[in-house]
């Protein structure tokens, strides 16, 4: 139950060197969106694009593979991709849209599809929803606090951020440095503390770094639609895969983290409910 319902789980990466170079992990999100775009499975994708302000992403409607690839890489702060969905349908006139999001973002989209109260003819335009694993997310000022206050760098200088091996990593022009995750604890948004979904259990396809070696991603196919698109992308040679059993650290670590998140979340829910506070889960 740690991973929700899925069809298959593999370790995978994009074969395109251009994607490998800029992607966070195996480049699965960018490769799948590009493949879907080129095969006309989607007509555009809503991704977390960069803005003039460092590490202040903004939901972006990408209409070309170049625009999708330009938005690759994880931003550890909010990019509420859903907010441009209506515009993509109504102003851009897109009939088939792909998007990517953290598990909570996927929950909003799925709820809208099951109960489309106020979203006239929007829900059916979502043709591919890719979920990314997520332990927590940070307000931008939290990032600023530990990058500037604890790591002696500045957001403007940081080229890449990553979480792995117990640390929060930044790469700036001078060096790569890590901060123990206990130093970032307490800076995540409070809403994350009751979240029970680590591996985007309601996405078509979900992916993240944990479980696979550097440069590779762990991928779950979940819905029929998601499995079809992923399989086709693998067959087309856009994505290469390895069985999970052949890679380190493997599913065991992922399971430990997913269950750990659920346990912690349930405890926090109980604590809140005992104080008379609400919880949707």
């Amino acid at each position: 139950m740690a991973f929700g319902t899925y069809k298959e789980v593999v370790s995978a990466r994009a074969t395109d060197k251009a994607i490998q170079k800029v992607a966070q992990d195996g480049g699965i999100v960018s490769a799948l969106l590009c493949y879907a775009l080129e095969e006309n499975i989607i007509e555009g994708a809503i991704v977390a694009g960069d803005t003039e302000d460092a590490w202040k992403p903004e939901p972006t409607i990408a209409m070309t593979p170049e625009e999708i690839i330009a938005a690759a890489g994880t931003k550890y702060t909010f990019s509420p991709n859903a907010i441009r969905l209506k515009e993509a349908v109504r102003q851009y006139g897109l009939e088939k849209i792909g998007t990517v999001g953290t598990p909570c973002q996927i929950m909003g989209l799925r709820k809208m599809q099951s109960y489309p109260f106020a979203t006239r003819f929007v829900a059916d335009k979502l043709a591919l929803i890719i979920g990314i694993f997520c332990m927590e997310n940070f307000p931008r000022d939290s990032l600023k606090t530990f990058v500037e206050g604890k790591m002696n760098s500045s957001l403007e200088n940081v080229n890449k951020m990553d979480i792995g091996k117990g640390k929060f990593w930044i790469t700036d022009p001078e060096k790569e440095s890590g901060l123990a995750l206990k130093e970032t604890h307490g800076y995540e948004q409070a809403g994350c503390n009751i979240c029970l979904d680590y591996v985007a259990e309601l996405a078509d396809v979900s992916t993240g770094s944990v479980g696979s070696p550097d440069g590779w991603s762990t991928v779950f196919t979940r819905t029929d639609n998601g499995a079809d698109i992923f399989t086709a992308a693998v067959e087309a040679g856009v994505i290469e895969t390895k069985p999970m059993d052949d890679v380190k650290p493997g599913l065991e670590l992922l399971e430990k983290l997913a269950n750990g998140k659920k346990d912690k979340g349930r405890k926090e829910i109980e604590r809140r409910v005992n104080m008379g506070l609400p919880s949707p889960f």
Partner: protein, 314 residues
Amino acid sequence: MLDGLKNKLRKFLGLEAKPDAEDDEAKAKLKQEIKSEVEAQSKPAEEAKKAADAAAEEEAKKQAESSEQISKESSTQEVEKVADKPKIGYIHMSGCTGDGMSLTENYDILSTLLTDMVDIVYGTTLVDLWEMPEMDLALVEGSVCLQDEHSVKELMEVREKSGLVCAFGSCAMTGCFTRYARGGQLAQPKHESFVPISDLIKVDCAIPGCPASPEIIAKVVVALINGDMDYLQPMLDMAACNLACGCDLQTNVVSKALCTGCGTCVLACPTRALEMVEGRPSHNKNRCIKCGACTTHCPRTWFPAEQIKKDLGL
């Protein structure tokens, strides 16, 4: 209480056992009254119908005797025939007719729906009637104006004559944009108090949206026909709601440590009264029409996990 409501709904959908003896008696009496009133001309028709019914019954009996399997089929067929089509009324109070238009946007299912599944027995522009008939379900669109005695009277009559009352769209449910009415204009300057229908009568179910989308209406109709109470539950839970505003996001989500910055509320807002600022919804009250779509859609107010998994085949 909820069980009672569920039973009522099931009965209305023809899923429950046939009407009990009391109902039969009442119906027979009503039939008799009608009979004595109508002209002789209609008698043959009535009799012919009776004869046909009897023949159908006879046929079903015969089949029942012929083989067990066929007997099962024919008995379910009989139930379907006997079960009355639900009588639905559409009542228009103070609103823009957007929800009614949304309903008619379901062209593809509408004709089957209207001819085979339900009887629309009352409705402005749909059914030309002076007297409001008994209804199983009344869809009420629009808020009710307290200074308009006709509307108030009509709403009371709806409650009396309808098994279930559904607040259809945000105006009926929350008051929506009519909450801004303050009178002082033509045609009747006195009309200033427009309230959600649950302020005056007991409401059984609510479908928010400004307007409610064609898809949610189709989904509700399908759920009604299938007796899918699990799907309808959130709308039964919202029945008593009579207040909404974009600031509910702050009160009920952000201030309750629930917001994740997902942006679904902004997606749902029909008037662009919301934007995301530093990962949180920021509410422009000058644009807000108090429809409640944002809070309804927020995955942190209520979350239908099982329904979603079912819909996705997960």
